[in-house]
């Protein structure tokens, strides 16, 4: 080989460790990818020759290069297409393998051909599945124009459409479908017997007599009137059980179990979807999302096809790199802070956090007052005016939306004074906004329940809830959730039409200072994500009271996709602030999980604590909604019953908890041990590298001395 002679050549001075001998090392040879010229020329000529001829010339080639042979046996087991070679080389590899297989007999040959056909089948299946994906063309276009950060928002939206559709199918299949099908399948529906007590009085809410048209609109938008006694709300399902010829179907149990099932399904699906992101984030010890290698090596979105987007992506990368380098310097500065500085900053942060808490508390109080006011106004039933009525119905939603609009501005103003690093600033502001959004629903529900469970300011003794004002309180809660969802949808549409389009028109045609200052619309991913997570949380809470809410939610997100896409393509430019795909996905799913957790609490509390209404719904004959489960367990056969009781007993819970803690400690200890081993191996590798260079230098010196000795003769 020619590199042997290179030792005697003077050092080319390529760098600190430049040495021709390094190129001959086995580790370098196996990574060598430089193609020998004869390969490329041979592949095109070889196309039409027979297999035997090909194999004959191949054997000559392979026996010549022993290093190549060693390489071959190591990687022979992988499929041909996973090798990083040109098509001609891959074809030769495959033909070689086919020849080898032909010489092999029986079992291993059959095994290989089976594996090959299975792989082909699986590929075809995956192709077919991928072709069924919703909105593939639209998302591909968005990716080309805006990059992977915004793409992740739209694929998140697609995921939510699917999730809501599956929730609707669950609810429909197990609760609504049996009721509809029962008459046809000769099933006998038993309704709850209405015991004559004051709790079970449920006056009909549908309007009688001459109805003005706008009252229908009010009913449609707030779920009252003609919508109240339909499949839409909890109150309509007064079914006790459905008796088919073969068996009977316990509808209340099904209703409860479907609620638990859809919450669990959402949890499992979200966790599965975020598994990859979590693994990456939890295993790393530092903040890997912000690492320089990730930004440089994986920084460019190769899918961008738009010239404008390329320019903006470059400037955003430049900005990001500068910010990160700046942050390194700031970290150094923070470490250099004196004690006096630290005290001052700590006191400042404390004051500002108290201020933030005060802002949050005042918002929550406003929501509480608005809910109370709206409830009282609805009880009065004096129709003042169509518009005023509607505003009173929607007052809690309006207040929540206004609070959610103003608080992010306040937070982003305050955080500037708190002197955090830029990355932490963004995350902390986002966390505050998330908390504000999701907690406002909780406050609304809490104020509703305060109203429902208080009769003239004291405990409700007769029915457990205020039966005079709310004969069917679950339907009422369902109506509030329905209103929240409709209003959210209307706001998304209205903001797009009345704010974003005019902004674009002003920016394009008007040259005044206002236009320049306001600037062109940027697609703010965090705010948009919070919007749809808020909607999804409403759906999760509301489905128990309004079983058709997932269907409305599916439709809503379907339409929102198109609204956002049109707005993005026409009004927005790519953001100057970078938002990476991986950290976006992780962020979306974390926020969604927080929403799910916050949604579970009201549902669980209302199922277990608050008395179900006696005038409507499937749980008339039970004290609380959850009570149907113990009653059903009672009717099960003895062995199963004792098993279920054992599962729910304290000894089992305590021992499960102890075992889980032990497993967790073991895994943590294992991770710590692995980390230590990794550090030791790193040090060893660095040492080996130094040893190698030292030895090669010594070898070169010895060769040079020998040469000089030889030349002196």
């Amino acid at each position: 080989m020619d590199s042997v002679d290179a030792v005697f050549l003077p050092d080319r001075g390529r760098g600190p460790a430049s040495n021709p001998l390094l190129d001959q090392l086995p580790s370098y040879q196996s990574l060598l990818y430089r193609r020998k010229p004869s390969n490329a020329a041979g592949s095109t000529k070889r196309r039409n020759s027979s297999l035997r001829e090909r194999f004959g010339s191949l054997t000559n080639r392979w026996t010549a290069g022993r290093a190549d042979n060693k390489q071959k046996t190591g990687i022979l087991q992988r499929p041909v297409r996973e090798q990083p070679k040109s098509m001609g080389d891959k074809r030769m590899d495959r033909d070689l393998r086919l020849e080898q297989d032909r010489r092999r007999h029986g079992w291993s040959q059959w095994q290989r051909s089976m594996r090959r056909s299975l792989r082909r089948l699986r590929d075809d299946g995956m192709d077919w599945l991928r072709s069924l994906e919703l909105w593939r063309g639209d998302i591909h276009m968005i990716e080309g124009m805006f990059g992977t950060g915004i793409l992740s928002y739209f694929s998140f939206l697609r995921f939510l459409v699917l999730l809501n559709f599956v929730m609707f199918l669950l609810m429909f299949g197990f609760v609504i479908f049996p009721i509809i099908v029962a008459p046809r399948a000769s099933g006998n529906i038993t309704y709850h017997a209405s015991n004559i007590s004051e709790c079970s009085v449920y006056p009909a809410k549908s309007r009688q007599g001459l109805v003005v048209f706008h009252e229908y609109i009010t009913d449609l938008l707030s779920g009252t009137g003609f919508l109240e006694q339909t499949y839409l709300f909890y109150g309509y399902y007064r079914v006790g059980g459905i008796h088919f010829p073969m068996h009977s179907y316990n509808l209340p149990l099904a209703y409860l179990l479907v609620t638990v099932a859809y919450l669990l399904l959402s949890l499992v699906w979200i966790v599965k979807r975020s598994a990859a992101g979590f693994k990456q984030n939890l295993i790393q010890d530092e903040d890997r999302f912000q690492s320089f290698c990730n930004k440089i090596f994986a920084g460019w979105d190769f899918c961008i096809t738009n010239e404008n987007a390329t320019r903006l992506k470059r400037s955003s990368l430049l900005y990001e790199l500068r910010t990160d380098l700046e942050e390194e310097r700031i970290k150094q500065k923070i470490a250099d802070r004196t004690r006096k500085d630290k005290c001052r900053i700590f006191a400042l942060r404390l004051v500002l956090n108290v201020f933030v808490t005060a802002v949050l508390a005042s918002c929550f109080y406003c929501i509480y007052r608005a809910t109370m006011f709206s409830q009282l106004a609805q009880q009065k039933k004096e129709p003042v005016n169509f518009i005023v009525d509607l505003i009173l119905e929607y007052l809690p939603s309006i207040v929540i939306t206004m609070a959610n609009f103003m608080t992010p501005l306040v937070f982003s103003l305050i955080i500037q004074f708190e002197d955090y690093s830029p990355a932490f600033e963004i995350r902390f502001t986002l966390m505050r906004c998330v908390f504000m959004r999701l907690a406002s629903i909780g406050v609304l529900l809490f104020s509703l329940w305060a109203q429902i469970t208080s009769c003239d300011g004291k405990e409700c003794s007769s029915c457990g809830y205020n039966h005079k004002l709310y004969p069917c309180w679950e339907t009422h809660v369902g109506q509030e959730m329905y209103k929240l969802m409709i209003f959210d949808f209307l706001i998304i549409g209205a903001v797009t039409v009345f704010v974003e389009f005019p902004r674009k028109i002003i920016f394009n045609h008007c040259d005044c200072g206002l236009a320049k200052w306001w600037g062109q619309q940027e697609f703010a991913i965090p705010q948009n994500v919070l919007e749809i997570v808020y909607g999804q949380t409403i759906c999760w809470i509301g489905t128990f009271y309004c079983p058709l809410l997932p269907a409305i939610s599916t439709l809503k997100y379907f339409i929102v996709f198109y609204i956002k896409k049109v707005s993005l393509v026409n009004n927005c430019r790519p953001s100057t602030r970078p938002f990476r795909a991986s950290s976006s996905n992780f962020f979306f799913l974390v926020v969604l999980l927080i929403g799910l957790a916050l949604a579970c609490i009201p549902v669980m509390v209302s199922m277990a604590q608050i008395q179900s209404s006696k005038a409507c719904g499937p749980f008339i004959s039970f004290t609380t909604s959850w009570a149907v489960v113990p009653k059903t367990v009672e009717t099960l056969p003895g062995g199963l019953k004792t098993f279920l009781y054992a599962l729910a007993s304290e000894p089992f819970a305590v021992s499960l908890f102890v075992v889980t803690c032990l497993a967790m400690f073991y895994v943590i200890a294992l991770a710590g041990a692995h980390k230590k081993v990794i550090n030791q191996l790193r040090e060893q590798l660095a040492m080996e590298g130094r040893d190698k260079r030292f030895l090669i230098q010594k070898l070169c010196q010895a060769q040079k001395r020998e040469l000089r000795v030889l030349n002196s003769y």
Binding site: G15, R47, R91, R120, F292, N294, T305, R314, S582
Partner: protein, 187 residues
């Protein structure tokens, strides 16, 4: 082959499906687009010159387009021209279903501007300039570049020899969560 025929024979299609990560529709679409590059010529060559490839909309705005053509080209004169099979190799490496190993291998070759098998300081500097733009006001200052390269080498150079070789690169990429989604070209 592939430039003159207007339709791909079935066995050829099956062979390409086996040797690449592309699906049938993707191979047919690639065939169509490749033929469109030379549709104005009466005698279309099998090897398409680099400037025609660079006119593809998917590559036109990519700062690494010349490097991509050089890496996937099997031409002996190293002019970056691609045959249809080179083009399929390119799409296969950038497709959704390509393995991380393939992608990181080709990414390493694309980033290795001087083709010496390692990413040293010069390669990294050219890489950063490609990412941020090569004009004076979009470049990082000398000081910032030095700090950045030091940080990168600190994170990725395990044997501390001042360069990033292929295994170190693949190790860093395996822990990079953004790589798979960003290293993608779909026609």
């Amino acid at each position: 082959m592939g430039g003159s025929a207007s339709q791909l024979p079935k066995e050829q299609l099956a062979e390409y499906q086996e040797l690449t990560f592309l699906s049938k529709q993707e191979i047919l679409l690639a065939h169509k687009r490749f033929n469109e590059l030379t549709k104005d010529e009466r005698n279309p060559p099998t090897r398409v010159p680099m400037d025609k490839i660079l006119a593809l909309p998917e590559l036109k705005s990519n700062p690494f387009r010349k490097r991509i053509c050089h890496v996937f080209s099997t031409s002996e004169v190293k002019d970056g021209s691609l045959t249809f099979e080179d083009f399929l190799d390119l799409l296969s490496a950038f497709s959704d279903s390509a393995t991380l190993e393939i992608k990181s291998h080709y990414a390493f070759r694309i980033f290795d501007f001087d083709d010496d098998g390692t990413l040293d300081g010069g390669d990294l500097e050219k890489l950063v300039n490609c990412l941020t733009g090569d004009t004076d006001d979009t470049r990082l200052t000398q000081e910032e570049m030095r700090q950045l390269i030091t940080n990168i080498l600190e994170e990725s150079d395990i044997d501390k020899d001042g360069t990033v070789n292929l295994s170190e690169f693949q190790h860093v990429i395996s822990r990079s969560p953004d790589f798979v989604s960003s290293f993608k070209i779909v026609l």
